[in-house]
């Protein structure tokens, strides 16, 4: 899903790196020797100095009140936001009504036919089956609502993304200006910026669509730019020599050449938008996400799963179909497409004439009961009293006392300037002085906003979760890279974990680990694991076969090959896995506010629930800052270099 797919060039000499690293450390130490005594003299004490905080709660509350009081009368809302909101409502409604008019048979047939033209018979059957399962689970109407929302959100994301991507792909200056913007948009945990969108647009579909666009547009923009810049120069030269104008070059050569990247961008955008569909249910998006969220209110994991499965199926189908389109296996002629379209319409009409547009209520299957019984059994037997091992509750307790508590207390005990120094050193060692500066400023911003302590609390949870994720993820990734059979067996499991809405497993983790920070960490690990496993496995498999071959011919054992050849050569992929793991973990640790994770996540939930802009926005901003810190600290320089290249 949220994997970054830019391939990185190789070839940094380790010796040079070591020298550079040493130089950087020396410089940081010198800077610290000068700055720390100054800081300590002025603002003594461990925690962030009160003199350096800015209280923004009053002005923020004022902004909130102003928006609510002027929403019905101010021109900004009447002539701008109001129109956007109406346009979103109208378009979603139009798609929704079309889907309903198609009926279940028509939508299923059309979906299958499109999949057939794009990706072949197997995926067509899979698509049809997926739609039918949505109906059987009694989720037809919510599925159509989600689909309508997705269509509009994805279209809007693609338009925004392509425009931004064109700008960045054609102009170096705009590219430099846009890069930090896109970076930030991608690092933002979606949960953090729901509140301002809600404040302006109110609860409901427009807010949900706009929040989704913010989240889903960056990959499209990034890959569009990448595709435009990566176009084969020889082809471009040939086109130019034929005397094509700039516009013709763009339309006839550069965009067609970037087709692969564009379709990959579409694929990523769809995946991001789907994962947002559930989070947006917190602000009243309706559809499947809302069903998941409502099922949680009555602590009904089975019902939540019944609404979560259609999301997983939609994600898998859309992922495979758009991926196949990107690979360009089948190029259907216009005539065949017309046949397929006509066949879809015919099925829809036939179903309509037979009087069966809605999914028949008697064709549904109730899976909530069995699932709930399974979850009950699991939690009843694992929660406590497992012989020798203790129960999951005991593990969670120990994890909290032995890992989370020391980590949090340690971070909060550290003098504030030392935290900044650590961040600076790490970010600089792995990146450039620019990334280091961003990281330090972002870290300092959490202090300035007055949420230093809760930020470090959240940070401690993220660090613990990342550590667990990396241990498990690297192990599984190595195994998947070495055994094809294991990789095949793992793939559907990863698909499910990656696309299953996080809300579905929040209740089981509480049932297993109790209320607190431990279940938040557990949920984060489950969510971030697939990306880490995938990137690790892919990186290891891409290691130059010649290098492996020569190692083998020198008589290296399997273990030696892994440690001395594969892992060092896949270093960049591993770093990317760390980076993605960190960003994904942060997103879920925040949602952990819903299960007792506390800290910034709780503040965001509180702000959303109480409409308290001051608390919610400050916490949201702090999360964004933490995201930037974590991203920059784990971001290899090489990745930055390739982004626009």
């Amino acid at each position: 899903m949220a994997t970054v797919t830019a391939a990185a060039p190789r070839g940094v000499l380790p010796g040079l790196l070591r020298n550079r690293a040493a130089r950087k450390i020396v410089l940081v130490v010198i800077a610290a020797a000068v700055l720390v005594p100054l800081a300590e003299a002025r603002w003594a004490g461990g925690s962030w100095p009160g003199a350096l905080t800015v209280d923004v709660s009053k002005p923020l509350a004022g902004v909130g009140d102003w928006v609510i009081d002027n929403r019905d009368s101010h021109p900004l809302f009447l002539y701008f936001f109001g129109h956007i909101s109406n346009a979103v409502v109208l378009s979603v409604r139009a798609v929704y009504l079309t889907l309903l008019a198609g009926g279940w048979a028509g939508v299923t047939a059309l979906g299958a036919l499109v999949a057939w033209r794009v990706a072949g018979v197997r995926l067509a059957l899979g698509t049809a089956a997926a739609f039918l399962v949505c109906g059987v689970l009694g989720m037809w109407v919510p599925t159509m609502q989600t689909l309508a929302l997705m269509v509009v959100a994805v279209l809007a994301s693609v338009v925004v993304g392509v425009l931004l991507g064109l700008a960045a792909g054609l102009s170096d200056r705009l590219d430099r200006a846009l890069r930090p913007v896109l970076d930030t948009m991608q690092v933002l945990p979606a949960f953090a910026y729901l509140l301002p969108v809600v404040l302006v647009f109110g609860i409901g579909v427009p807010a949900a669509v706009l929040a989704t666009v913010v989240y889903a547009a960056p990959p499209m923009a990034r890959l569009t730019a990448l595709g435009l810049r990566g176009a084969d120069p020889e082809v471009l030269e040939a086109v130019e020599s034929l005397g094509a104008t700039g516009r013709q070059r763009l339309l006839t050569a550069r965009i067609p050449l970037a087709r692969k990247e564009l379709l990959l961008g579409l694929n990523q955008t769809i995946m991001m938008a789907l994962s947002m569909a559930v989070i947006a249910s917190v602000i009243g998006a309706g559809g499947l996400g809302d069903r998941v969220y409502q099922a949680l209110a009555s602590v009904d994991v089975g019902a939540a799963l019944a609404a979560g499965i259609p999301i997983v199926l939609l994600a898998v189908v859309l992922d495979r179909v758009t991926a196949a389109a990107g690979a360009g296996e089948q190029h259907g002629g216009a005539v065949r497409w017309a046949y397929a379209g006509a066949a879809g319409v015919a099925v829809a009409l036939a179903a309509r004439l037979l009087g069966r547009p809605d999914w028949p209520a008697s064709w549904t299957l109730d899976m909530a009961g069995p699932v709930d019984r399974a979850v009950d059994w699991m939690t009843a037997h694992l929660y406590s009293g497992v012989p020798y091992l203790g129960g999951t509750a005991d593990w969670a307790g120990r994890f909290t006392t032995w890992v989370l508590d020391p980590l949090r207390d340690g971070l909060q005990w550290l003098p504030w300037w030392s935290v900044l120094l650590i961040v600076a050193t790490l970010a600089w060692l792995i990146g450039t002085w620019r990334t280091a500066l961003t990281a330090v400023l972002a870290m300092a911003a959490t202090g300035v906003l007055g949420v230093w302590k809760p930020s470090l609390d959240t940070l401690s949870q993220v660090l613990a979760a990342v550590a667990v994720t990396l241990v498990l993820g690297f192990a599984a990734g190595v195994a998947a890279a070495r055994s094809d059979r294991f990789a095949r067996a793992l793939r559907p499991v990863l698909d499910v974990f990656q696309t299953l809405p996080q809300f579905v497993y929040l209740i089981p983790v509480v049932a297993l680990f109790g209320v607190g920070r431990a279940p938040a960490v557990a949920a984060a690990v489950v969510y971030a694991l697939p990306a880490v496993v995938r990137i690790t496995a892919q990186g290891l498999r891409q290691v130059d076969p010649a290098a492996l071959e020569s190692a083998r011919s020198l008589g290296a054992t399997g273990r030696q090959q892994l440690w001395q050849v594969q892992l060092p050569l896949a270093r960049r992929s591993l770093l990317l896995a760390v980076n993605q793991g960190v960003v994904l973990v942060l997103a879920v640790v925040i949602i952990g506010g819903l299960v007792g994770g506390g800290a910034l996540g709780y503040d965001v939930v509180f702000g959303l629930a109480q409409g308290d802009l001051a608390t919610g926005l400050v916490a949201g901003a702090a999360i964004v800052c933490l995201g930037l810190v974590l991203d920059r600290v784990t971001q290899p320089t090489e990745r930055r270099a390739t982004k626009g290249a």
Binding site: R71, D72, F77, L78, Y79, H83, S85, N86, V89, L90, S91, R93, L97, Q145, A148, L170, S171, D172, L174, V198, G202, I203, G204, V205, G246, S281, I283, G284, G286, Q294, L296, A297, S298, V299, D300, D372, T379, Y383, S384, A393, G397, T400, I507, V510, A511, G514, V515, G516, A518, L594, V595, G596, G597, G598, G601, Y602, F606, A609, Q610, G611
Partner: protein, 323 residues
């Protein structure tokens, strides 16, 4: 190679804006009327109800929905929203009614008295009460635990990894009305408020504790279906007097008993026809609500099935709402 083409992008922006206004009709857009795109599909009459996260609120909506759909021929959409945002949504017309409000004086003043976008819909007939509760099995073992003055002696019983050496007082969703932090501070109790973050998490934890008959102290409220499954005893706090909770930071008294209220969107109340009239008359008892809630949350019936069952057995109650 560089083609900034600013002109074209401006043109794009302009045409985009033009398309927007074409789509939506020129002139001002009314942010106070923003129906859901899923409402009134295919010409059916639709009512949109807001559901809050606790099951009692689901029961109200389930029964209202069942009667609206099967007796009055409406299609009912539901939106799950937290309490305060629900007021905002109600004011904008995204939802038509809130059936169970636990008292939000600020919101009432803003929307009902000043802006007049929301009107009162009368009482629900159910009285709500918030308090601190311990499970009944614990109250039997230690009868004196049900007085706040004795709580400190039992603090060690309630310790958890999250409570930092103190006793744990578990609070639920951040959207609920709570003075617990102030209460713990002002009553000088050796307790730490731990927020479960959602009612779902809180209930799951309480069930796990109850299964093992472990002691716990929690923020809880009645009417609540879980009380049928895990019997609980309220801990006495200093008695409630009118106005003793006026200053949120200085609260040192129990929570009041609140007759729960309904609120309707002003436009819907006026033009909502049968549906609005029905929702205004909707009024039942705590026992009725608990009956439905238990069916939903404990027997795992879907809200629709639970409502159907209740409606079958209480004709005299709901007949009065329809006439």
């Amino acid at each position: 190679m560089r083609t900034p083409n600013l002109g074209r992008r401006t043109a794009l922006t302009v045409s985009w804006a033009a398309a927007l206004s074409l789509l939506t009709g020129c002139g001002a857009a009314d942010m106070t009327r923003q129906a859901s795109p899923f409402a009134n599909a295919r010409g059916t009459r639709t009512v949109t109800l807001s559901v809050q996260s606790w099951v009692g609120a689901q029961s109200n909506v389930a029964v209202a929905r069942y009667l609206l759909e099967h007796r009055l021929g409406y299609r009912v959409d539901t939106v799950q929203v937290d309490e305060v945002p629900a007021w905002d949504a109600l004011s904008q017309g995204r939802v038509d009614a809130i059936l169970e409000d636990w008292g939000h004086p600020d919101q009432e003043k803003r929307y009902v008295d000043d802006k007049r976008t929301i009107v009162r819909g009368g009482g629900l007939g159910v009285t709500g009460h918030i308090g601190w509760y311990v499970p009944a099995y614990l109250a039997e073992q230690h009868p004196d635990i049900t007085d706040w003055r004795n709580l400190d002696r039992y603090a060690s019983l309630f310790r958890t990894p999250e409570s930092g050496g103190k006793g744990q007082l578990m609070d639920g969703s951040p959207s609920y009305v709570t003075n617990d932090k102030a209460l713990v501070a002002n009553l000088k109790l050796n307790y730490q408020v731990v927020f479960a973050g959602s009612e779902a998490a809180q209930i799951t934890q309480m069930k796990q504790f109850a299964k093992e008959r472990k002691p716990f102290l929690t923020y809880w409220y009645t009417p609540q279906w879980l009380s049928g499954e895990v019997p609980m005893t309220e801990v006495k706090l200093p008695p409630y007097r009118e106005g003793c909770d006026a200053d949120a930071a200085k609260v040192a008294c129990a929570y009041p008993h609140t007759p729960l209220q309904k609120y309707l969107n002003a436009g819907f109340a006026e033009n909502g026809g049968e549906a609005a009239a029905f929702l205004k008359r909707f009024r039942w008892t705590t026992e009725d609500q608990n009956e439905v809630s238990l069916m939903i949350a404990d027997q795992k019936l879907t809200p629709a099935e639970a409502a159907e069952k209740w409606v079958a057995g209480h004709e005299s109650t709901w007949k009065a709402w329809l006439s």
